[in-house]
């Protein structure tokens, strides 16, 4: 039975209870931060919309209506966000676009975070030439503006949403590696790392079991804060025609398609723009809140 | 002799998730021009008491008192301007670690001169001379080197002396020293204490010496307040500490190992719930 008392006890009786209790305390601390909760609910709504898109969207996102009657209608009760030049309901497309956005965000996080952590902690823990080699590689990636580099990778791999994700992932790990390395440099000098060394632990065991969990929270915070940028990069690639291909309802591609008639039919480009703005804001607020909640020093 | 400082029923409260928690619970004492020791273990509220006297209770803590008077000035209603005229000028504070109390990007000399001139004004050269004299007074052998040094270039003992010089150049009436020697080696510790001792004797300064080290306090101070769980459980003459009445004081005293040989196993402190009431 999971109750509040069970979670907050000072004397957990099992590994599971200790872990859940710790997670619950983090959640309580996050919950007391109002702005972070706004961010949390925005992201939760994004996930909900992505899952239930077929039930929420009133029209098909790809196949439009009658091209003669339904093109470029302004926002109304029939079409909440209007329709575009292919007579497709923009609201439905924005709803389905949540799926693509979430896919980009999730895949980039899953690919880039482990690479960054692995490179950064390894470089920081071993130091010496390992550090020099790994960090110079990281510097090379950091030397190019992210969108330009992603653009190069995306055009080399060919257009398409999958390639765009890979290109973004490849370009977004270096900052995480830097961050993880900086954290590792202080962690490796501490007595708890000395202690585990004196227990005879191997280097991979120390890095994976003892260093990474401590770097993880700051990297997670950084990834969350970067999500806004990742969404914008994906949108940028989509806008330049290297991301999602028509007729996929990707928000960046939708803005690109709408820019031709932004003066006369403003809603075509503006609606997906607002969606990008809100989701970016949500990730930023959540990331800020997580930074406070995950800081082990700040918690009692 | 009139009292320099009077504290009556000082309470410090922190709000927590479980409701307000009192870390200092009704502390009262009076201080003349003497050396008063406050002893207690971590969490006893001794440092909180020291900070509250300077109005430096860290947020979100709230300090209240029935009476808090320094030389006839009611500190409870002190305005920011009054505090500015008191802190660092008539009441100074020395903390445990000089590393955190000195400005790392300013030379020692400039910090001392600045402390002096904000209070007394006057010409730079005069202030400089005063600073050098002060550095000599705290037993720094090479004052001109220390004057031009940055805090990180000094050893712990030197840094603490420089800190003392800065705190004492304004000739305060009251010095609150919170574990001023705990970060120092034993041999250096005694030299710093000797400087404090002389200042009390020569200038008639009042000194509140906050420490966890019962042996040090008992040999250095005139009077000792023993704190436990936010209260003063006993006040004793320092020389009588070995004959203290309260079981907590006795326990603190007997649990220390002695060079001459101590019983084995060492006596441990059996805490009684009634002490905290």
């Amino acid at each position: 039975m999971i109750s509040r008392e069970w979670l907050l006890t000072d004397q957990p009786g099992s590994r599971r209870q200790a872990r859940y209790g710790q997670a619950f305390r983090t959640w309580l601390s996050l919950r007391s931060n109002r702005l972070a909760m706004v961010g949390f609910w925005i992201i939760a709504a994004l996930i909900g919309i992505a899952i239930f898109a077929p039930w929420i969207a009133p029209y098909d996102p790809v196949v439009g209506g009658d091209l003669r009657l339904d093109r470029l209608i302004g926002p109304s009760w029939d079409h909440l966000m209007g329709t575009d030049d292919q007579a497709r309901d923009i609201f439905s497309r924005v709803v389905y676009g949540a799926r693509l956005t979430l896919l980009v965000v999730a895949l980039v996080a899953v690919i880039a975070t482990p690479i960054g952590l692995a490179v950064g902690t390894t470089a920081g823990y071993f130091g010496g030439w390992v550090d020099v080699v790994l960090m110079r590689i990281t510097d090379i990636f950091l030397a190019f503006p992210r969108l330009i580099l992603a653009l190069a990778f995306a055009s080399a791999l060919g257009p398409g949403i999958e390639n765009a994700i890979i290109a973004i992932a490849i370009t977004s790990w270096p900052p995480y590696a830097r961050l993880a390395r900086a954290e590792t440099l202080t962690i490796r000098e501490t007595d708890y790392i000395n202690a585990i060394r004196l227990q005879g632990a191997s280097s991979p065991r120390i890095i994976w079991g003892h260093v990474v969990p401590l770097c993880l929270s700051s990297v997670i915070v950084r990834v969350t804060l970067d999500m806004a940028g990742i969404i914008l990069t994906a949108a940028g690639l989509g806008f330049l025609g290297l991301g999602a291909q028509p007729p996929q309802p990707e928000w960046g591609a939708m803005i690109a398609a709408g820019r031709r008639f932004i003066i006369d039919f403003w809603w075509v480009a503006t609606m997906p723009g607002i969606a990008i703005f809100i989701v970016s804001l949500g990730f930023n607020l959540l990331g800020d809140g997580l930074r406070d909640a995950l800081d082990p020093k700040g918690r009692k | 002799m009139t009292d320099l400082l009077t504290v009556e029923d000082l309470r410090i409260t922190y709000p927590t998730r479980q409701g307000p928690s009192e870390v200092v619970r009704g502390v009262s004492f009076a201080l003349g021009r003497e050396r008063l020791g406050i002893v207690g273990e971590s969490g006893s509220g001794k440092s909180q008491t020291g900070r509250a006297l300077l109005g430096l209770t860290p947020a979100p803590g709230i300090a209240t008192a029935r009476r808090l008077e320094f030389d006839g000035i009611d500190l409870r209603q002190a305005s920011p301007a009054t505090w500015r005229a008191l802190r660092g000028i008539r009441i100074s504070m020395v903390m445990q670690d000089p590393k955190y109390s000195l400005n790392p990007v300013m030379t020692i000399g400039r910090q001392i001169v600045e402390a002096y001139r904000t209070q007394k004004g006057g010409a730079k050269t005069a202030a400089r001379d005063r600073a050098m004299a002060m550095l000599e007074a705290v037993q720094i052998r090479d004052p001109s080197r220390v004057f031009n040094a940055y805090p990180h270039e000094l050893s712990g003992g030197m840094g603490q002396r420089a800190m003392l010089a800065m705190m004492l150049i304004t000739e305060p009436d009251l010095l609150i020293a919170d574990e001023p020697t705990s970060a120092l080696d034993v041999t250096v510790q005694l030299e710093v204490l000797a400087i404090l001792d002389r200042l009390v004797a020569d200038r008639g300064m009042g000194l509140i010496f906050i420490s966890h080290d019962l042996r040090l306090v008992s040999t250095f101070c005139d009077r000792v307040l023993v704190m436990y769980a936010g209260r003063i459980v006993e006040e004793v003459k320092a020389s009588d500490l070995a004959n203290a009445r309260h079981p907590y004081t006795q326990g603190l005293y007997t649990c220390l190992p002695r060079i001459e040989g101590s019983q084995r196993p060492l006596q441990t402190l059996q805490r009684d719930a009634s002490w905290a009431l």
Binding site: Q199, G209 | L193, R258, P265, T268
Partner: protein, 258 residues
């Protein structure tokens, strides 16, 4: 028979022009079952000696033998099962994200010990912590409790030698007494050999049969407990330490600084 033999130990940090000799020409022997103390002020190199023994500081000269065998660099798994260390600051020596259970299970897993479950429970009981502490995080423990966990961690591999680096200097006096008693009891129960580093002469006099006084990385003198208690120190530095340990004595004692 000496269990630990250290002869002419040098430890130098840094390289080329920028070297710092932390320990210079230090020699001492420790018999099996003995408690040996190293006393000194900050910068005396006393902790560096311990770190050199367990491989955390580089041995740049001299030899360290245990059971007559010179130590290998890097130390092997067998070394870690015989020699363990307790660090000074219990707030810094426990991983902030690991429960007590994880802290104790880790060494058992590394060395492939069977029945971890019973060993962890036993180790906690040995240091006077009950089952209720097993799944707590370090931030849910007091300083004394943390140090008990650190001692349990060091003892769970059943070593013969325990290196103690100021194990009580971060603790309150009453907690210090409890931890010292615990260390004393564990030594007599298990026949452990201790090397205890401390700045506090009284702690060393209480715990150790013999001690070494160090200053500026060098040996000042070696004393027995009886010599210390009888204040029969030969060197002025040791005598100054003895005077200082009595507390404040009125005027500035004149100290000879080498």
């Amino acid at each position: 028979m000496n269990l630990i033999e250290i002869s002419n130990l040098d430890v130098t940090f840094g390289s080329f022009a920028n070297t710092v000799a932390a320990v210079r020409d230090v020699s001492f022997n420790v018999a099996a079952g003995e408690a040996f103390g190293i006393v000194g002020e900050s910068g005396s190199g006393k902790s560096t000696v311990l770190r050199a023994i367990c491989g955390l500081a580089p041995v740049t000269g001299g030899t360290i033998r245990i059971d007559g065998q010179p130590l290998k660099t890097p130390r092997d798994a067998g070394f870690y099962r015989r020699v363990q260390m307790v660090f000074q600051d219990p707030y810094a020596s426990l991983h902030p994200r690991h429960t007590v259970d994880r802290v104790l299970a880790e060494p058992l897993a590394i060395h492939g010990f069977a029945n971890a479950e019973t060993r962890i429970e036993q180790a906690l009981a040995d240091v006077g912590l009950g089952h209720g502490f097993r799944f707590r995080y370090p931030h849910q423990l007091s300083g004394g409790q943390r140090q008990r966990v650190a001692i349990a961690r060091a003892l769970i591999l059943e070593p013969k030698i325990l290196l103690l680096d100021e194990p009580t200097s971060a603790l309150d006096a009453s907690i210090q007494a409890e931890v010292l008693n615990l260390l004393d009891r564990l030594r007599s129960e298990r026949g452990l050999t201790y090397i205890l580093v401390s700045h506090d002469l009284a702690v060393v006099a209480h715990m150790c049969e013999r001690l070494l006084v160090m200053q500026h990385g060098r040996t000042v003198e070696e004393l027995t407990r009886a010599e210390l208690q009888g204040r029969r120190a030969q060197q002025p530095y040791t005598r100054a330490l003895l005077v200082a340990s009595q507390g404040y004595v009125g005027q500035t004692p004149t100290l000879e600084k080498a």
